[in-house]
């Protein structure tokens, strides 16, 4: 995840929108640069393009024009992003925002090379310029290209897909959304923190992507993707000593409607979080050493993201991200010939997963969503691919992992939902704790840092508990664990069943230059990893004094 984006949070994130208030107003206005194409209004927002509208005709015109200009392939994406955010700090609503961004992106292949141009100005005149710019760019860059692009085939479709939501978050009033968070903060404030100061910050944002995709191969795809992104974090500070401790709520974004907020156990958890932050202040600092780690799904999802999701991205393995996100230790020669994990581990890439942030009907190449294994019983069997990449590893079809953050961005290979399958045999978290002699249970995500080949990592959680002789013990603080990816996944020796399965995720996985954000989810049950190196972050802070305690892994 990208740290800076995360800090800025949803309130600063780009795009959002109008709801139905003015929906009866026809949008026929003239902009400075020509006629702006009207959108069809409907309650709750705008239906962007339906077959037969002016916009669809514009897309077809631009595709024809690109062909005439010598493009061998062209796609046009018309996308509107709507985002609404509510931010609350303690008892104060610090911000309500409503953001909208609408524009058109034209992508072509000419002389075997990509070209791309995009504008907020959705009109025939503007579109003509974009096609010229994209074709010009492709032709100019073709001189720098070693081999022409060769897209894997895809069937042309005319289709519609919408995130199956039960309650449209855009139709819940801002007032109700803000009041919900204020009520939660009031509940947190009832927790006794022994006279110390409690600070609570929350936000809730919802986002919708309304996207029309048309390609020179005849696809016409309309999608409406809805996501909801709540977050809260609580800090207890002791003003006398300057000590403070924080605990973030375990609630994470999902590809669902407002029903997700209403169904989440906010009331209990926000009070628990205040208690946890308070308890953390005086919790026992962890003794560094080797432990069996029980990683709860509220934590493990991000470990999966960093150490399985990223290494199995084909663009990284091919060196396309060498200058930024990095490469991958899972090089192409390891495909179908590498033991990634113990045979308890099966990990699937799945853009069809219910509630997943990366769940779509079709990717931004027009390839239908599917579920397929990346790791099958511990063996590395496949990568995440796009139409551009599939043939590079001699696969006939793309797995459909192309995605662009905005109408203004070039689509490229992005992570789908990548999830760890639960144990088919019954095994509960209680069973796992009972079965552990010297361990630590970690819940929630805090600090995640992993190298550019996704090999060496150091992660921390929100809360940690001692597990001793089969029993859950006291809270521990300052816990970080360090390992290397295959060694770590080969140490997985116990896995819970589907009754403990949870879906985590993030809106802001960063990759590419310019960097694009990708929403992605990861499901998993609790899992245990044996004999993992745990360090104490506080003693690390004391720098040189403690270096003698540090062993290292080669």
């Amino acid at each position: 995840m990208n740290r800076r984006i995360f800090i800025k949070g949803a309130l600063a994130a780009g795009a959002i929108s109008l709801s139905g208030v003015d929906s009866l107003v026809a949008r026929q206005a003239r902009s400075k640069a020509g006629v702006r194409i009207p959108m069809t209004p409907y309650a709750g927002g705008f239906v962007l393009v339906k077959p037969g509208t002016t916009e669809q005709a514009l897309c077809e015109t631009l595709i024809q024009q690109a062909k005439t200009s010598g493009a061998s392939y062209c796609d046009v994406r018309l996308v509107r992003y709507l985002t609404q955010s509510v931010g609350v700090q303690d008892k104060v609503v610090t911000g309500i925002s409503d953001n909208e961004s609408y524009g058109i992106g034209v992508r072509v292949i000419k002389d075997g090379t990509w070209g791309f141009a995009a504008s907020r100005n959705v009109s025939a005149d503007s579109g003509r310029t974009l096609v010229d710019d994209a074709c010009g760019m492709a032709a100019a860059n073709a001189k720098l290209q070693t081999a022409p692009l060769d897209l894997a085939p895809v069937d042309a479709v005319t289709a519609e897909w919408k995130t199956p939501i039960k309650k449209n978050p855009f139709e819940v009033s801002f007032k109700d959304r803000a009041q919900f968070l204020l009520d939660m903060h009031a509940l947190a404030a009832t927790v006794d923190v022994s006279g110390k100061k409690l600070y609570v910050n929350s936000w809730m944002s919802c986002a919708r992507e309304e996207k029309y995709f048309a390609s020179s191969e005849g696809s016409k795809i309309w999608q409406e993707i809805t996501r909801i992104d709540p977050a809260s974090w609580l800090t207890v500070a002791n003003p006398m000593t300057g000590d403070f401790a924080s605990r973030a709520l375990f609630v994470l974004p999902q590809g669902r409607g407002y029903e997700y907020i209403e169904g989440y156990n906010y009331k209990d958890e926000i009070q628990q979080a205040a208690k946890d932050a308070h308890e953390k202040l005086t919790a026992t600092s962890v003794e560094p050493g080797k432990y069996d780690l029980i990683l709860h799904p509220t934590h493990l999802w991000l470990t999966i993201h960093e150490s399985i999701g990223h290494p199995t991205e084909l663009d990284r393995a091919l060196g396309y991200e060498a200058n930024f996100a990095g490469t991958s230790f899972v090089t192409v020669d390891k495909l179908k010939d590498f033991t990634y994990a113990t045979d308890l581990v099966t990990v699937v890439a799945d853009r069809t997963q219910e509630g997943g942030l990366a769940t779509v009907g079709f990717d931004d190449d027009g390839v239908p969503a599917e579920e397929y294994p990346l790791i099958d019983k511990g063996q590395f069997v496949d990568y995440q691919t796009t139409r551009e990449q599939a043939k590079m590893i001699k696969e006939a079809r793309s797995h459909g992992q192309s995605y662009a953050q905005g109408w203004w961005n070039i689509p490229f290979q992005r992570m789908p939902n990548v999830s760890l399958k639960p144990n088919e045999k019954p095994f509960s978290l209680q069973d796992m704790i009972k079965d552990t002699d010297k361990g630590i249970l970690i819940m929630g995500n805090s600090s995640y840092s992993i190298d550019q080949q996704r090999y060496n990592f150091q992660f921390t959680g929100q809360v940690a508990y001692e597990v001793k002789s089969g029993k859950l013990g006291k809270m521990l603080r300052d816990v970080a664990y360090q390992s290397t990816t295959p060694k770590f996944w080969k140490s997985l020796d116990a896995l819970c069943d589907k009754s403990e399965y949870m879906l985590g995720g993030a809106m802001n996985d960063g990759k590419g230059e310019p960097m694009q954000s990708n929403p992605v989810s990861h499901g998993c049950p609790p899992a245990r990893f044996s004999n993992i190196r745990v360090i104490n972050t506080k003693s690390e802070a004391a720098v040189a004094k403690h270096t003698s305690m540090i062993d290292y892994e080669s």
Partner: protein, 451 residues
């Protein structure tokens, strides 16, 4: 022309129009119009390139202590009217925000900044330059039998702010960044370098390409060193990463509420404390001739030259207008750039005088470990070397490190002349002016095999 960047005058007249549609007690409008072009290459071939143009308008309408904010890029009259109406509706719905401050009145004074390079705004010229730079890197990589990956972006951006009390300000800037990685064909060695400037002509891509290639070649067959604390030389870009981390915590409210490394008991702060080496002078200045930057921040608040650390003492913390009022102290705006003063020698010459230490080219994946001490963790990447008697002796296998920017600035032994640079990890700001730093200790916690 279609798809043009709108001039500041055009943006101001849109802002005026937006304000004229409003019925709220007061309102403010912010507009940004920009063109952004980029090119990527990898595996010695061009991969993607693109350009886009956009204009965004942000409108905040306020009644009493209730505010509503809307952004849109629909600049049609109908679109703007709709956005204003929506902002006013949200302001009605919103609960009161006790921390909302009244708008700044007219008569603010702004510095002038020279962040606009006319030549860089020529789209054809900039596109040709991007292609020329890519070609240069690919040619060098082929010549040396290496693999190049890189990214060139150049942009033009105009901004304006206007409120219904009559305050209006605008600025414009251009920015170009170029970075490249050179890797051995077998993936067993890697080098990186980066340049940033408001002018594309000042990027000096030859030097960037040469440095990345030389680092890749020099790193071959690295030695393994034990984790521990070593004297260390940080290249300017790595220093910029650490200073960006430090800057995030320079906040008075967090400190006075007891939530920051600069908190002291009973709501006091570390301002005035000798936290750093007395050589350290960290400041921001939007009018700096080498790193010109934006002249205002949110709400039209002027950005001015500000000392953050002077003679090794923490001099000030940014203080929002609300917190200023609440604490009875003057507001302190943030920073649009950062400058860390240094010595007289250029980085290359400075290295000749270093007796011994590890040389860090760049950092990766910097994350918080302990907020009370500002302890961070991260990795070294694309060029870690052992230096002895002013010469690179060998590459060193990468490390994970755990270190605090505060400790880093405390441990400074010496520094080079500052040069224009930019952080590597998660950066989207203005170029910075940073020296190479030589520090008495840096804490490496484990070996990282990644290349």
């Amino acid at each position: 022309m279609h798809n043009d960047v709108l001039s500041i005058d055009d943006l101001q007249s849109i802002a005026k129009k937006v304000l004229s549609y409003g019925k709220s007690e007061w309102a403010e409008v912010e507009l940004t119009s920009g063109h952004y072009g980029n090119l990527r290459y990898a595996a010695n071939t061009v991969t993607t390139s693109g350009a886009h143009v956009n204009t965004n308008v942000g409108i905040t309408s306020v009644n009493g202590k209730r505010a509503g904010s809307v952004t849109t890029n629909d600049l049609s009259e109908d679109g703007l009217r709709r956005a204003v109406k929506r902002a006013e509706e949200i302001a009605t719905l919103a609960p009161e925000n006790g921390e909302l401050m009244p708008p700044l009145p007219p008569g603010q004074s702004y510095v002038r900044s020279a962040a606009y390079d006319q030549a860089s705004t020529d789209r054809d010229y900039a596109a040709n330059e991007r292609a020329r730079i890519a070609q240069l890197a690919i040619k060098e990589a082929n010549l040396r039998q290496l693999q190049a990956a890189g990214f060139i972006e150049s942009s033009t951006q105009h901004r304006c702010y206007r409120n219904s009390k009559g305050l209006a300000v605008g600025d414009e800037h251009t920015r170009s960044i170029y970075s490249t990685t050179m890797r051995a064909l077998d993936g067993m060695s890697s080098g990186w370098s980066k340049a940033a400037s408001h002018s594309i002509a000042q990027l000096d891509p030859q030097t960037v390409v040469r440095r990345a290639a030389e680092k890749c070649v020099a790193w071959n067959s690295p030695r393994v060193m034990d984790p521990g604390t070593y004297k260390t030389i940080l290249e300017p870009s790595a220093v910029a990463d650490m200073m960006q981390q430090l800057q995030d915590s320079l906040d008075a409210r967090e400190a006075e509420e007891g939530r920051s490394p600069f908190s002291r008991p009973n709501g006091t702060t570390a301002i005035g404390e000798q936290l750093f080496s007395e050589k350290i002078h960290l400041y921001s200045d939007p009018n700096h001739p080498l790193v010109p930057a934006g002249v205002y921040e949110g709400g039209g608040q002027p950005l001015i030259a500000t000392d953050w650390i002077k003679d090794g003492k923490l001099s000030t913390l940014r203080r929002s207008r609300f917190w200023a009022q609440k604490s009875g102290k003057p507001a302190v705006a943030g920073a649009s750039n950062l400058v860390l003063d240094g010595g007289g020698q250029l980085p290359e010459d400075f290295l000749y005088n270093v007796k011994e230490g590890l040389l860090i080219t760049s950092f990766w994946y910097i994350r918080d470990l302990d907020n009370q001490t500002m302890l961070k963790t991260g990795l070294t990447r694309d060029g870690l070397f052992w230096v002895e008697d002013g010469k690179i002796q060998s590459g060193v296998v990468n490390f994970r490190w755990n270190e605090s920017p505060i400790t880093l600035l405390k441990n400074v032994i010496d520094f080079s002349r500052p040069v224009i640079t930019a952080p590597r990890d998660g950066w989207d700001g203005e170029p910075m002016l940073m020296p190479m730093l030589y520090v008495s200790g840096f804490n490496y916690s484990s070996q990282s095999d990644a290349i």
